[in-house]
Symmetry: C2
Subunit: 283 residues, 2 copies
Amino acid sequence: MTLSFTIHSLLLGFATIVALGCAPSATNPPPTANTPSIPAAPNDALVQFSVLAALAADDYTDGAPLRDVLAAGDFGLGTFDRLDGEMILLDGKMFQALADGTVRPANLGGTTPFAAVTFFKDDGRRDELSAATLTHLEEQIDRQLPRRNSPYALRITGEFTEVTLRSVPAQSPPFRPLVEVVRDQVTWQHRSVRGTLIGLRCPAWMGTLNVSGYHWHFLSDDQKIGGHVLACQFEHATLRYDDCSSVDIRIPQSTNFDQFDIRHVTQQDVEQIERQRSTSPKD
Amino acid sequence: MTLSFTIHSLLLGFATIVALGCAPSATNPPPTANTPSIPAAPNDALVQFSVLAALAADDYTDGAPLRDVLAAGDFGLGTFDRLDGEMILLDGKMFQALADGTVRPANLGGTTPFAAVTFFKDDGRRDELSAATLTHLEEQIDRQLPRRNSPYALRITGEFTEVTLRSVPAQSPPFRPLVEVVRDQVTWQHRSVRGTLIGLRCPAWMGTLNVSGYHWHFLSDDQKIGGHVLACQFEHATLRYDDCSSVDIRIPQSTNFDQFDIRHVTQQDVEQIERQRSTSPKD
């Protein structure tokens, strides 16, 4: 019982870390009798390579070929072998945002221990969207999205007044838990840059599979700036969203993955996660 | 945090109820350095319709068409609209084991709030398997299956010295939580009957999605006896197993499903689950 408690605590904490203060599953408006039932397109899957709990446990290598990821979607986010940067998949092109602040096309001969992608199809949009903070942005999207218990892919294009990004350096064995790795994150801030937010919102029931709530990466239009989004501010942007009707979890066939123990993760890391959260910058 | 604790407690408790005393995720042998890495067949998905947490929350209706389930696999288990009996899918034929002890071919015009199916492909087998109890059976399978963190479909054919089955009667609104419904289960015992155990073993990381550990249904060769297995005993049977390389979760598009709150479930039911478990018959 205690173990169950801690894994969820870990993942909730991790979600908070990666999305910095966003806990949409807790802030979603309660469902009402007139919640619309909008059918999502069939086969509009969110395809996940591995699960978040395994990544949190330090399963950073022997992952899925990047070509398999590209075959499963044209839009999404993730990481690379040994956590070597942030993955950005946009319009079928995969980019790698490295810890030195550079962005490059991903070497498709590589692998990933964790990625979540979909073939992006518009199910809805909103123009003239402005946001002062990530929290402000997410509150607005919470009010816009029709369904609470489906995952959504989100893309927001426009001119960003300010965006704060992070990436992490490649890790070497023996691997540390993710909660420790993100303490070494490198962050940088840009102003007045045109680009796209690549986002996911996952429902609370996916909490052990992916980041419960929001998770955002960014890529500038000139493809020179990118990373995991810690904070942003923009005006007059356009949001488009894709309601995913299924979640397809590709299970890594590595001994690494098979050795991950969801109970073991939590025991090691939950207290550190909590400390990390309390010192995180605010958006 | 308390909520996270209780949902996992609920699901662990539920798993224990449905599989009666089997907690394979806790009893699996620890991984060793020489754990074999056996690649599973590509596209060998375990396809789930909805998630266990929603079923536990009483999302019993407006589910997936049974024809969609049949299109996704030829082997598996589940339930029916309003929990009207136990679903058995074997060799592409779907049966409904009702609470009056009868078994009939399912009416394919119906729907299901929860089912998990796959196209069964042999990845391994074991002949001359004997088991004195379900627990004894599962301990043997734990030692046999190569991978800990992949789901397996399991079929065991032979002569059963004894098998204790249950089904539940169809529910009417307002629906009660699953933990209360199973208190009304009808059980019956048969001796010396030839048939097949239709089983799944799901890894611990799937705990909110499906029954973590083992889950067994039964169908006699003459298709007249079937249900959810509470206890069994057999000798000289044959086990065949199918290692599933992905989990494909089809998200119900109903307002029912969208209104389920994983946090709400736990608060209502966890204590009742614990009481139920303590009074469950032993296998």
